[in-house]
Symmetry: C2
Subunit: 337 residues, 2 copies
């Protein structure tokens, strides 16, 4: 069966995915028997293109890179209309993240499920705010809602827990889930002030012009909520997760940690306590001997505590064009299996 893919959002992640699919078309076919067409792309900047027999991906990529509207297969449709009307088997939701309302991504996911299409997304909005509802909606229709890319981009976390770790009970998860704050803390440890480290993170493109979402811990809080709901099969709301960022960490705090053979990390934590799941985001002094202590710069990591394996940690990239593009590919292949 040839998979028919629709992309909602054709920014960094959408283009990254399209490039990977283009480069790896033969490899995916030979190695995994995976064949596909991208039939629709809708982007707020470049318009909506649709061809039920498959779009010319190279032309679409060229248009987007030249910051021009699509010129082939153009339709007068918004994203919702494309999702409903297209013949895709799977919708990749790659539009912008809104952790307050989850929109427009939640509506995109619902429209896909209503019209019989799987959803794969790296968008934290629907995953953090509406996972339980959207998953139930998908399952009712025999569809999948796959979200590997919402936590640590393509580094295996959710698919690790649901795949190779299946059979283990995961009793806790501790993670460094935000690369920007980890980069800032790494620079502060090397002697920089918070303000200078933030500025450097912005120059490198790690932090946004308004860094609030990262430095106040909101981004990590969204990911912690997702982890709790996927890995512990609960229905935690984002407002149930206590949240403290790194803006109050002083050079004195950094020194104090060094003296105690520790290192500050912004830790997202989910723990089973009896029937309840407790979750939080807060800076913690981590002993240097802990696997998370050595995770520096923009790298992310997570440690799962399990009943049968004890602690298992994964360390990998938390963001990036190709890295997040791959997170979508890995879920597309999971759909294929």
């Amino acid at each position: 069966m040839k998979h028919r893919i629709a992309l909602v959002g054709f920014g960094t992640v959408g283009q990254g995915l399209a490039e990977i699919l283009l480069e790896k078309r033969e490899y995916l076919k030979t190695r995994y028997g995976y064949e596909f067409d991208i039939v629709g792309i809708s982007d707020i900047a470049w318009g909506t293109a649709y061809n039920p027999d498959g779009l010319d991906i190279t032309a679409m990529l060229n248009a987007a890179k030249a910051k021009q509207k699509f010129s082939q297969d153009l339709k007068d449709w918004d994203a919702l209309t494309m999702i409903r009307k297209c013949n895709a088997t799977v919708v990749c939701e790659l539009a912008f993240t809104d952790l307050e309302t989850g929109e427009p991504a939640i509506s995109h996911c619902k429209a896909a499920f209503e019209t019989g299409k799987h959803v794969v997304t790296s968008n934290k909005g629907p995953a953090a705010l509406a996972y339980t509802d959207l998953k139930a909606m998908a399952e009712k229709k025999g569809l999948r809602f796959l979200i590997e890319g919402t936590v640590m981009s393509g580094t295996p976390v959710l698919n690790l827990a649901e795949g190779p770790l299946a059979g283990c009970e995961i009793t806790a998860a501790l993670g460094i889930l935000n690369g920007t704050t980890n980069y800032i803390l790494t620079q502060m440890e090397a002697g920089m002030s918070y303000e200078d480290a933030l500025k450097k993170a912005q120059e490198l493109g790690y932090a946004e012009a308004d860094p609030t979402g990262d430095v106040e811990g909101y981004d990590a809080r969204g990911k912690v909520t997702i982890l709790a709901n996927v890995v512990m099969n609960t229905s935690l709301r984002i407002e149930d997760v206590s949240c403290k960022g790194i803006t109050h960490i002083t050079p004195e705090d950094i020194e104090k940690a060094k003296e105690e053979n520790c290192r500050w990390k912004l830790i997202g934590s989910v723990k089973k306590e009896g029937d309840k799941v407790k979750a939080s985001v807060a800076p913690e002094m981590v002993p240097l001997s802990h696997p998370l202590a050595g995770v520096m710069g923009a790298t992310n990591a997570i440690t799962f505590a399990t009943d049968l394996l004890g602690e298992v940690s994964v360390v990998g990239p938390g963001a990036g064009r190709k890295e997040t593009g791959f997170s979508i590919l890995t879920d597309l292949l999971r759909l294929h299996r």
Copy 2:
């Protein structure tokens, strides 16, 4: 469908697996729809028991723990006869490891495939010496040869590469694959002599009375061969892997590493170089900033270098009763999916 399991070997791993299956029977059914009977167990010490409708696992565990022969459902069969005659759908090969000949495990695997049964094993013998042949034999019959437990016990490595990392090209793998030598190096760094550290490892049950297989790197070499063949889809022979152990590391070497902000680790390495795959085991001075440097004691770890994600590392247990028992369960669930 109810899976019918035969266990060949009922020592630490076999008993660990049986305990997990017994404890988790309801959980596996509810969560994954996984139902099973253990229909046969053959052990060189406790004999062979077989019941096509399922054995009484508790009774079998009690016999083995009391170091007594099985008394129920006893058959006058050796392991090979049980494999051939039983009605199992899957054979778990958990007999002793022989890295010279691979026997009797290789014959066990072949008999299973010949009579239409999947094989799951944590035995490095057949995996390191005959992976390509056994896999081909299995595939010809529409069967699976699954071996997660041969590298880092139940910590996801091979199923990680073949599952959530599918779609990435793995260009290199670097790992700490032997817990005994890592424990000895950790103790030497804390000031112990090689001899004292080895003695302590033996007292703790990490090292065998004859520690050659661990300290000369042969155990790690078996795992490196397996990694190369599974993850890089090649046909490397164990004798193609250069191998050097830790017996020549001196306290002076340990000091020298400290001065250079490094730490000695016995590193198993597999690298694609053009069309070739190069593999080795040798002690290396790893910079403290590398994710593998912080892996201390009996813990194992592996770093995959990939085309789309850069470096992804997994850290977890490398051995243990429950841990290796789980490695079999994870492959049984993979068969089930």
